[in-house]
């Protein structure tokens, strides 16, 4: 038995949360230090997993299996493949930077970090779970702390409404998927929740056609799929900065990832049957999201809708059911996660100083906040899919995949790149260049060294990945190959 690294990754945030809850509430500095230590620990471990994942051997690695409830075939069965390893790293990065960005939270920081870590545990759990029951278990853990995080620490104007809306959407989605999962469990007759075994269950074509849609869409709600995306921009805007980062950076990937793992991999026939519909919905996501983002005046709403658009690309990649499409989608999940985390972090820093996020009321931020400006521009280039940055590495294969399936969809979806370029350029110009409004002058204080570390880490990751795609693409490919094998069988 080797070191159980995956369970340590899952449970270390919970342990951190418990330690925090036992600390006296008024020792705020110590609380922040413990939080940072926990996050650093998780980041180091997830990075270690990333480095030590054997791309040649591929398949599921670092496997752990403990019988949890043998009578129903539930086990704590963990493992990562080429698709989930980058997501694990992503979660570690966002958690680490999220804690840094939240350094200034002064209202009950103990509870804030405790809830944030509980959420992080759930996210880690979903990415590494190989047991359907455990996947749901962690999925729900990842959802409900969002309510409290947004409702308590969010933006005063909309937090109560947005938090409730988000929670209801996600809860409905997950329970719909849960019914599907239970149906799979009983229909398979295998009496196990082990997903690797369920992959071989050979569900009847009829069964797959009925249950694929509830399962896939139930999860994809969290991925922000149109027309169930409505909770997401509201949630982004209302959430405090670190939670927006988590929400857009990691949680939405959770939905897409679970839709792939449970929907496509367990019900491949259903996926094939419904793929055109999913392709259509995702195209709407991509194009519609970009258009709506363009007309936003609030910076956070703009990023929120751009997330909807970019997550549409992920689902689009899945729906092609081709190797290129899926590989692109896998890389896009990572790239977009880092990119949005950066966007929200930068926006948060601007808002904390200017007390407004309305693009027309901003301007000239480049001079007082050069770090924020430069990294925001890097994020913008990623968002536009500029070669040399991670966005290109991700989006290009997706469009290649789509072209193979439905060329006209590819043409339609490519429009979004132009629109994205337009709104990102506009936002950058109006926020960071031009004249600074008079009322803001003197209020824009420089950011702290820790903030620079967070921004630098996020921007650096995207650039490195853009220049050296080989550090991630082959890994994702090895994971996608497994999915393709499953889809191959039914052809």
């Amino acid at each position: 038995m080797t070191f159980p690294i995956l369970s340590v990754i899952i449970f270390s945030p919970i342990v951190g949360a418990l330690i925090l809850l036992l600390m006296p509430a008024e020792r705020k500095t110590e609380i922040r230090v413990v939080a940072l230590m926990t996050a650093t620990f998780a980041l180091i471990l997830s990075f270690w997993v990333y480095l030590n994942y054997d791309q040649v051997a591929a398949g599921y690695q670092f496997i752990e299996k403990y019988a949890w409830m043998p009578q129903l075939g539930i086990s704590l069965h963990l493992g990562v493949d080429g698709i989930s390893t980058p997501l694990l790293l992503l979660t570690g990065v966002v958690m680490f930077t999220g804690v840094i960005i939240s350094w200034g939270i002064d209202d009950r920081p103990r509870e804030f970090f405790a809830f944030l870590f509980l959420l992080a545990s759930g996210v880690f759990g979903v990415f590494v779970a190989l047991d359907l029951f455990m996947l749901f278990f962690f999925y729900e853990i990842a959802v409900f702390p969002m309510y409290l995080l947004i409702a308590i620490w969010g933006w005063v104007k909309t937090r109560e409404y947005a938090a409730m809306k988000l929670t209801l959407y996600l809860f409905i989605g997950s329970v719909v998927a849960l019914v599907g999962a239970l149906a799979m469990y009983f229909a398979s007759g295998l009496e196990t929740f082990n997903m690797l075994v369920l992959e071989t269950a050979n569900f009847s074509v009829e069964f797959q056609k009925i249950w694929f849609l509830p399962v896939f869409l139930g999860f994809a709600v969290l991925g922000g799929i149109w027309p169930f995306h409505n909770w997401s921009p509201d949630g982004h805007v209302a959430a405090p900065t670190a939670v927006s980062m988590f929400h857009a950076g990691v949680l939405m990937k959770l939905g897409a990832f679970a839709a792939l793992r449970v929907g496509i991999m367990l019900l491949p026939e259903g996926a094939k049957f419904w793929a055109p519909l999913i392709l259509m919905l995702a195209t709407v996501n991509v194009v519609y999201g970009a258009f709506i983002a363009m007309i936003q005046k609030d910076l956070k709403y703009m990023i929120g809708f751009s997330s909807v658009s970019h997550m549409g690309l992920v689902v689009l990649g899945f729906a092609t059911l081709t190797e290129q499409g899926m590989t692109g989608a896998g890389v896009q999940m990572f790239s977009h996660g880092v990119m949005t985390a950066l966007f929200f972090a930068a926006t948060g820093m601007v808002y904390d100083r200017a007390h407004t996020r309305q693009i027309p009321e901003l301007g000239g931020m480049m001079k007082p906040l050069p770090w924020v400006g430069v990294t925001f521009i890097i994020g913008g280039l990623v968002s536009m899919g500029m070669p040399g940055f991670s966005g290109f590495v991700a989006e290009f294969p997706i469009f290649m995949g789509v072209w193979q399936v439905k060329p006209w969809v590819a043409i339609l979806a490519v429009i979004s790149i132009v629109i994205t370029a337009a709104y990102i350029m506009l936002a950058i110009r109006r926020t960071f260049f031009g004249e600074m409004p008079k009322e803001l002058e003197g209020h824009i204080t420089p950011i702290s060294a820790m903030d620079k570390v967070a921004l630098g880490l996020l921007a650096g990751l995207m650039t490195i990945l853009g220049i050296f795609p080989s550090i991630m693409v082959p890994m994702v490919q090895s994971g996608v190959k497994n999915v393709m094998d499953i889809l191959e069988v039914i052809k």
Partner: protein
């Protein structure tokens, strides 16, 4: 009649011990002349813990047997529920200690113990006569406890209302029993066979009405909100958990015993109950939405939870009954905690209004955290007990081919999510008037702190390490099939 065997003593060991404890408290109360009654709560709680541990080890049945001439069935179903009732009574006596006009009176603990004896017998009665006596032994002390605060109008009303409705329901159930005896000539559950259609229908309807009252199924739930609101809060907690669990134990033993899955009438009673479950879940959750008093809200929520649990019964399988038992274990822990928190809160503030919970997390963060645990468990969120319980119950429905019932249940839990979260929002987000929460702390006395810590830990324990607990629950189910 059977001759005496040691099994007979072991079978009713918990009840014997409970009675002894009751007598001990009675004597102590007389010796102390009514002074220092609060400490009797420690005696009761300590004694119950002792009984719980002792009976858990000694009174565990190996093979199901009928004792006392077939009056009592000594099996795992009875055993599991007995332990649950004793556990519930133990925590309730802790919660009672600092309840005004309740905790310092020795007789309140004695009544609690007598009610527990009644519940124990309900869970193990194998004869209609025994069953009826057990139900009355449970109900009468509960009527008194509900109306215990004589100078409080609402409490008096609660006691009287509970008595009148309860007596009515008992009568109807008794009429069902008499029909069975009249047509089959026996009262022993195991011996009753040979139903004709009209008899079966009459029996199902009459008995169901009686039990539906006990577990507050819609449309027989009207007493519950008033009684829950008026009764002293710790008693409400006991009433909504242990008393309800006892009703479920009877329901399962009686209906699965009389009309087993193979019986021709099984589809009809399960259908009736499926409909009742649907109505109960929906009414409970929808009406709970508009409540402004937290005790009334939890009353409707507990009606809804009876509906969820019924989904498992309807599935009529070992998985179903096991899930219900597991559900009840989780529910007893969770709801006891919820009412305990409310009792602790209103002891200090004197209010049960949801809006008065504003700023609670700043006034006592530990209490708020316990409330978070309890309410999220009621919602059905992991890693708390309520999640696993709900999943198992719905799984049983899906397995039985009743996907529609599982979907109704799921839609309902979404409604539930809304009002539970609303309360948590008030607790964590809203501020007290004047925003000076630090000046109004909510001190927790030791009994509350111990009980709430035990319950929160328990909710987490069965929510995370659910395997062994589900084993126990399904062993209870195995005896019925």
């Amino acid at each position: 009649m059977s001759t005496f065997t040691p099994t007979m003593i072991i079978a009713i060991l918990p009840e014997i011990l409970l009675l002894t404890l009751g007598l001990l408290i009675l004597i102590l109360d007389i010796v102390l002349k009514g002074k220092d009654g609060r400490n009797l709560g420690w005696v009761a709680a300590g004694g119950l813990l002792f009984i719980l541990v002792l009976s858990a080890f000694l009174a565990k049945p190996a093979i199901p047997t009928d004792v006392f001439g077939g009056m009592i069935r000594y099996d795992m179903l009875g055993y599991v529920f007995k332990m649950l009732f004793i556990f519930g009574a133990m925590l309730t006596s802790l919660f009672m200690m600092d309840s005004k006009k309740l905790g310092n009176r020795g007789e309140s603990y004695i009544l609690l113990l007598v009610a527990t004896i009644g519940m124990n017998l309900m869970a193990s009665a194998a004869d209609l006569i025994m069953l009826y006596l057990a139900i009355e032994t449970t109900s009468i002390p509960m009527y008194i406890l509900a109306g215990f605060m004589r100078d409080d109008k609402k409490s008096t009303e609660a006691g009287l209302k509970y008595l009148l409705f309860g007596a009515m329901a008992s009568t109807v159930m008794l009429y069902g029993f008499s029909l069975i005896f009249g047509f089959t000539g026996t009262t022993a559950l195991a011996a009753i066979t040979g139903f004709s259609l009209p008899l079966a229908l009459g029996v199902i309807v009459l008995i169901l009405v009686g039990i539906a009252f006990k577990i507050s199924l819609a449309p027989f739930h009207f007493w519950a909100p008033d009684v829950y609101e008026g009764a002293p809060t710790p008693i409400t907690g006991f009433l909504s958990t242990a008393s309800k669990a006892a009703g479920f134990a009877v329901l399962m033993r009686l209906f699965i015993g009389l009309f087993p899955p193979a019986s021709a009438y099984a589809p009809s009673w399960t259908l009736i109950m499926a409909v009742l479950a649907t109505i109960t879940m929906t009414v409970g959750n929808v009406v709970a939405l508009s409540q402004s008093n937290i005790k009334r809200m939890l009353a409707y929520s507990s009606i809804a939870h009876a509906g969820y649990a019924l989904v498992g019964v309807v599935s009529l399988s070992e998985l179903g009954v096991g899930s219900v038992t597991f559900y009840l274990i989780a529910y007893v822990l969770t709801n006891l905690a919820a009412f305990g928190i409310i009792a602790a809160f209103s002891n200090v503030t004197g209010s049960d209004k949801i809006s008065d919970f504003a700023g609670m997390s700043r006034r006592n963060s530990g209490l708020a955290l316990a409330m978070l645990v309890a309410f999220l468990s009621l919602t059905g969120m992991p890693p708390f007990g309520g999640f696993v319980a709900k999943v198992f119950v719905f799984a049983a429905a899906v397995k039985a081919g009743m996907v529609w019932l599982a979907i109704v249940g799921i839609l309902n839990s979404i409604v539930g999510l809304y009002y539970y979260l609303t309360v948590l929002k008030v607790v964590y987000l809203h501020r007290m008037e004047g925003e000076n929460e630090e000046a109004h702390p909510i001190p927790l006395s030791r009994p509350y702190a111990i009980a709430l810590a035990v319950l929160s830990a328990g909710i987490l324990l069965i929510g995370i390490i659910f395997g062994p607990w589900f084993n126990i629950a399904s062993s209870a189910a195995a005896g019925l099939f």
